[in-house]
Symmetry: C2
Subunit: 209 residues, 2 copies
C-alpha cells in the first residue's frame, strides 16, 4: 500500500471549500478529511470525531507538550489543532489527507511536511467573490466591508500555495483538484524511493559481470 | 488566447519518448513539438522543417550571435539547437511546446524559462530498461554495456526534473503526461497575472465607497 499525500486546502471565505470537499469525498475514495481537535463545546448536531474531537484544555495541552499536533492555534479563548496521530494513521492507510486550514496553519504544516501539496481556492473574480460575500443581501454594509477586508488579507499569501484553483463550476473544480493531486503523485520529490531504487539497480547492471 | 507553456521532456534512451510524443500529438491538439535546427545533412526521408531545420554553419552561427537559440550544443562536429523564434511563435499561438532534449539542454532552458515544466520518462524498472536496451538480442554485449552505463549517467540528474513518469502502458502514460500539463497550468507561478488582478480588484472593493 502506497502512503497517501498530505494536502492543505485554503481559500477565500465564500470560495465554496466546504461544498468542494464534500463533492470530492463523494466522488473519489482516496481522500480523508482531517478532523481537528478543539477545546470549545460541541454545538447542536455536532458529533465527537466527526466535526471535531472535543477535548478539555488539560488533554489538549498535554498533547501540545507531546508534540502531538501538526499545527494548532488559540482563537477566541479556545484551542484548535490538527492531531498528528490521526493524520499519520490515515496517510499510512494510503489515504490522501486533506487539511482545510488557513495560511498560518499551512506554513506550520509545510515546515513539518515539506512534501505536502497546497491548494488555494478562489471564485473566478473579485466581483464574484464580493457577490458571494454579500450573500442574499441581508448583511449590513459593515459586515460586508469586514469580509472584503479579510479577503484582501487572505489574498496576500496566495503565492505561497503551489496551486490556485478557480471554483466556478463545482464538478469542474472537483475534477481539477483531483487531477492536481494525481499529478502531484508523479512529482520527483514524492518518488525518492523509486528513483533511488532504479539508480541502484542501474549501477549494479552496468558494473555487473 | 492564453499563452502555452514550455515543456521539457527527457528520459532514458529506450524509455519510448518518441512513441509517447507521437501518441500525445495524435490524441490532443494543444501540443506542438519543437523542431530543432542542425548543421548536419538531412538523411534519407528527412524533411526540412519536420525532423529538423537544416542550415549551414554560417547561418547557425549568426543565429547564435543573435541569441537566437534557447539552447544549443555541438555534437560530433555538428550544431544542434532549439530556435527561440519558432518556440515563442508557437507559445503565442497558445500551443504547449514540447522540447525533447537532454539534461544539459534542460538546465539551459530552465535558466531562461524558469516557468517551464520538466518531465523525465522511465520504464517501470531498471530490469525493464535493460530488456529494452538489449532489444532483439542482436547487439553485442559491449554495445549493451555502453547503453547501460549511459543510462546510469542519465539517471544522475533525475531529481532536477519536476515530474517522473513511468512508461509501462503507452495510453496510460500519455494520459498521465496530459494530466500533469493540465495541473501545471493551475500552478500559482503560472497564474501571476490572474493573482495580481484579483488582489488589485479586492483592494479597490475593500477601500471603495
Amino acid at each position: 500500500m502506497e502512503k497517501g499525500i498530505l494536502i492543505v486546502l485554503s481559500g477565500f471565505s465564500g470560495a465554496g471549500k466546504g461544498t468542494l470537499m464534500k463533492e470530492l469525498m463523494k466522488t473519489y475514495d482516496n481522500y480523508a478529511l482531517s478532523v481537528s481537535m478543539t477545546t470549545r463545546s460541541p454545538r447542536e448536531g455536532e458529533e465527537d470525531g466527526r466535526e471535531y474531537f472535543f477535548r478539555d484544555r488539560k488533554v489538549f495541552e498535554e498533547k501540545i507538550a507531546q508534540n502531538g499536533f501538526i499545527e494548532y492555534a488559540e482563537y477566541c479563548g479556545n484551542y484548535y489543532g490538527t492531531p498528528r496521530d490521526y493524520v499519520e494513521a490515515k496517510l499510512e492507510e494510503g489515504k490522501d489527507v486533506i487539511l482545510e486550514i488557513e495560511i498560518q496553519g499551512m506554513r506550520k504544516v509545510k515546515a513539518m511536511f515539506p512534501k505536502m501539496l497546497s491548494l488555494f481556492v478562489t471564485p473566478p473574480s473579485a466581483r464574484e467573490l464580493e457577490k458571494r460575500l454579500r450573500g442574499r443581501g441581508t448583511e449590513t454594509e459593515e459586515v460586508i466591508k469586514k469580509r472584503l477586508s479579510r479577503a484582501t488579507e487572505e489574498a496576500e499569501g496566495v503565492e505561497d500555495y503551489e496551486y490556485i484553483v478557480i471554483n466556478d463550476d463545482l464538478k469542474t473544480c472537483v475534477e481539477e483538484i483531483h487531477g492536481i493531486v494525481k499529478a502531484a503523485k508523479r512529482a520527483t520529490l514524492r518518488n525518492e524511493g523509486f528513483i533511488k531504487q532504479i539508480k541502484e539497480e542501474l549501477n549494479v547492471l552496468s558494473e555487473g559481470e
